[in-house]
Point group: C2
Chain length 213, copies 2
């Protein structure tokens, strides 16, 4: 759902998009392709990674590393990899994280693909909000992290240009170890989702008015 | 520091307070007692738990269960135990949680002291903010959770009356398993603390204006 939402938005604003799946002609891929009037391509994870100048990883967190291995390190080399996935496991009733605290999925991905520029972003909000932050009133924040400052700067610009985020609302949490906190937001988010009964919420950081930032 | 801040505030507004420590006459306890002009008592954890109608646990999370055992289940029976501690471990350089994801310190405390009414609260903000939320501009949120609805209602009222929180800014995360999310905020909080260089911040939940809450 996240991948479809982001890809559809990117098609709508004129980008050339290839949606990757485990198989080249998955029925889910074909259905998405029809939903955008055929104005995109579908293929395997490897096809999509080879095609893209920029790669979004919106896979289910439990399958994320496996999907990226299928995409192939060579196809991802020196590319910005926008890592949206969360390492959530819903199999036990109460959702848990498959990695947390002393490591994170973002770090695992960066370690396994050291020649890619992994930028963790967008994982803390519902997909409708990802591409339309104005669904919520006023300012609210998006976190970003990654080891490469230039790549983070590019992604920050794209989040603003493509999806409508305000630059001043994007909070840089530093290197890829910032993924720990970003992924730990998920259990809180899911609890709030259960409370509110809908996913149309986010957090806004409130700072003392005399604070230097 | 958290315990001193809360206790000093409670003394200032006229409550009878006993500060518990490992030993009855700890130098830290005596120093705090002097700082409030002697208008309180100090004692062991057990003395304090026996003295209090309400008990605040502001111990270092790593020692929380041990301190509560010293306080004694009998002294805590049928009392509201406001659990402020976070299970943080700073011993390895990068702060980590000693329990998380599938369990939490709040749950551990409630399990070990089933006859106490554990209410997790205040753990997500710096101690200066705990007792003076107006240090930040506008609305910002405090989470609360616990198994006993009446106890949560009482604590919510006290947070408003004693410390100045707005009732509408206190977000009930349900039963004590809500501690998981509340404690998972710590790694994010610490990252933001490092970024901002000061602890005078908090989060505000922003909901879609058409949302039912």
């Amino acid at each position: 759902m996240v991948g479809n939402t982001l890809a559809t938005k990117l098609v709508q604003i004129g980008h050339q998009i290839m949606m990757g799946s485990r198989t080249a002609n998955s029925s889910a891929g074909q259905e998405w392709l029809r939903s955008v009037g055929g104005k995109a391509k579908i293929g395997t994870f490897a096809d999509a990674a080879a095609f893209g100048e920029i790669v979004f990883d919106c896979t289910n967190g439990a399958n994320s590393l496996d999907a990226l291995r299928q995409a192939g390190a060579a196809n991802l080399r020196e590319k910005i990899l926008i890592h949206v996935s969360n390492p959530l496991d819903f199999s036990t009733g109460q959702p848990t994280l498959t990695v947390c605290n002393t490591d994170s999925l973002g770090e695992q991905v960066q370690r396994e693909f050291p020649d890619s520029l992994v930028v963790k972003a967008l994982n803390t909000v519902n997909c409708a909000l990802m591409i339309q932050p104005s669904l919520l009133p006023g300012d609210h924040n998006l976190f970003i992290c990654g080891n490469d400052a230039a790549a983070k700067g590019e992604v920050t610009g794209w989040l603003c240009e493509w999806f409508g985020w305000k630059n001043t609302n994007i909070v840089d949490l530093g290197d890829i170890t910032g993924s720990r906190g970003m992924e730990l937001w998920m259990p809180i988010w899911l609890r709030l989702f259960g409370k509110f009964g809908h996913p149309r919420f986010n957090l806004r950081l409130v700072l003392a008015s005399d604070s230097p930032t």
